[in-house]
Amino acid sequence: MSVKFKPNIICFACNWCSYTGADMAGTSRMKYPATIKIIRVPCSGRVNPTFIMKAYQKGADGVLIAGCHPGDCHYNSGNYFAKRRFLLATRFMNYIGIDAKRLRMEWISAAEGVKFARVMAEFSETISELGPNWRAREEV
């Protein structure tokens, strides 16, 4: 008997846009998969690439970083720095063999509850297809 694989996805959501977007999705009674665990961060610029590696190490199958649209950052420029950092980090992770498809970055504003639900469903689907991540994962 095979059990359907349920992915573990960590979403780093920025406090001002994406987390509020998730709230929006919730208050509007929209459905999105329960595989997503949201971690609230002050800004997408707060997310250190090390967090992503740590997430993979502790058993995440995918990591999603959600922040404000460029130009909308509560701190003016945090998401631009984040963008540069993740442009580099994604390529670097891919280079050391961790599939780049498991990492995704999205701009989701506070009003985009629909987009939040859609992105989560899409990403959960992608990770389900990719299967569990064993690379750089802690042996238990």
Binding site: P49, Q57, Y80, F81, L87, A89, F92, E138
Partner: protein, 324 residues
Amino acid sequence: MMTMTEKMREQVKELFVNNEIKLFIGFEKGFTKFSRIPAFAENYDEAKKMIIDEFETPFLAKYLIRELEEVAAGIVEKSERVAILTRGCDYLGIRRLIVDNIILRENIVIVGIPCDGLIDVKKANKLLGEEAREITIDEENVIAKGKTENKIISKAEVVLDRCRQCIMCEPKESDIMLAEKTANVKKNKDYSKIEEIEKMSAKERYEFWSRQFERCIRCFACRDACTACNCRKCIFDITEPEMLEKTVATSEQFMFHFIRAFHVAGRCSACGECERVCPVDIPLGLLNGKLRKDIEFLFNVEEAGIPSEIEPLGEFKLDDPDEW
């Protein structure tokens, strides 16, 4: 014509006599015939043992932190100066420390040496087929003497790997220059090895790096040797939060190497010292090189190795690329 060693002694004598410096940092002979180790001189007599030649040498720039950090921070109210032997790559390291406000330029006397690449004794031994007993270096060739036979090898064959991709053959600015610029060998940025790895499949890449990282003994030599790794409190040393755990496991090795490489992203000056000091020969240059390559490609930086006031990851442009 005076050799560089003689000229250095003359200059150092002058500096000590005029009371311009309190310390001189250079090289002396190490435990084996061809190894060179750092040497520190507080007066001229101590500086007499120092030599300059073309054998592989350690980096000296990192010692400036120990000597000058407190002076730069204003804890010690003395304007002490330190003279240091500087090749082009050392200069990039010193520049890194100055840009990071760790040390001040006015406290350093840069004694410049033009450099055409350092000799890797291991390579010479390999070509000779035995342990060389005597190695002489002239303008173009290296003559290695073995038990019975001598071998003349061209310099380009035995030069250190990192010297092939050198981006600065002599310090850009110096207080004292010990020789005229050498006719330097044409060097090219070489990303071919990195491109080879990029062409592999994700699985192959993961297996390749697992093989490399599993050798790691986490001695932190790469961190200690690197001038870009100049944080006063290193993330690997703190236990709260414990980003790097003590378990010996592949995942921790990946964690360590990812953090180390990414912390010097945009700050690495391609000196290759991390690779040189690595006791288990992990190709760290391929990690740092990949980051430099991407920075140059993504953010239109001409030469990612040269330290600038604003780092590539410390700024942004509105038209940065969008694809992940």
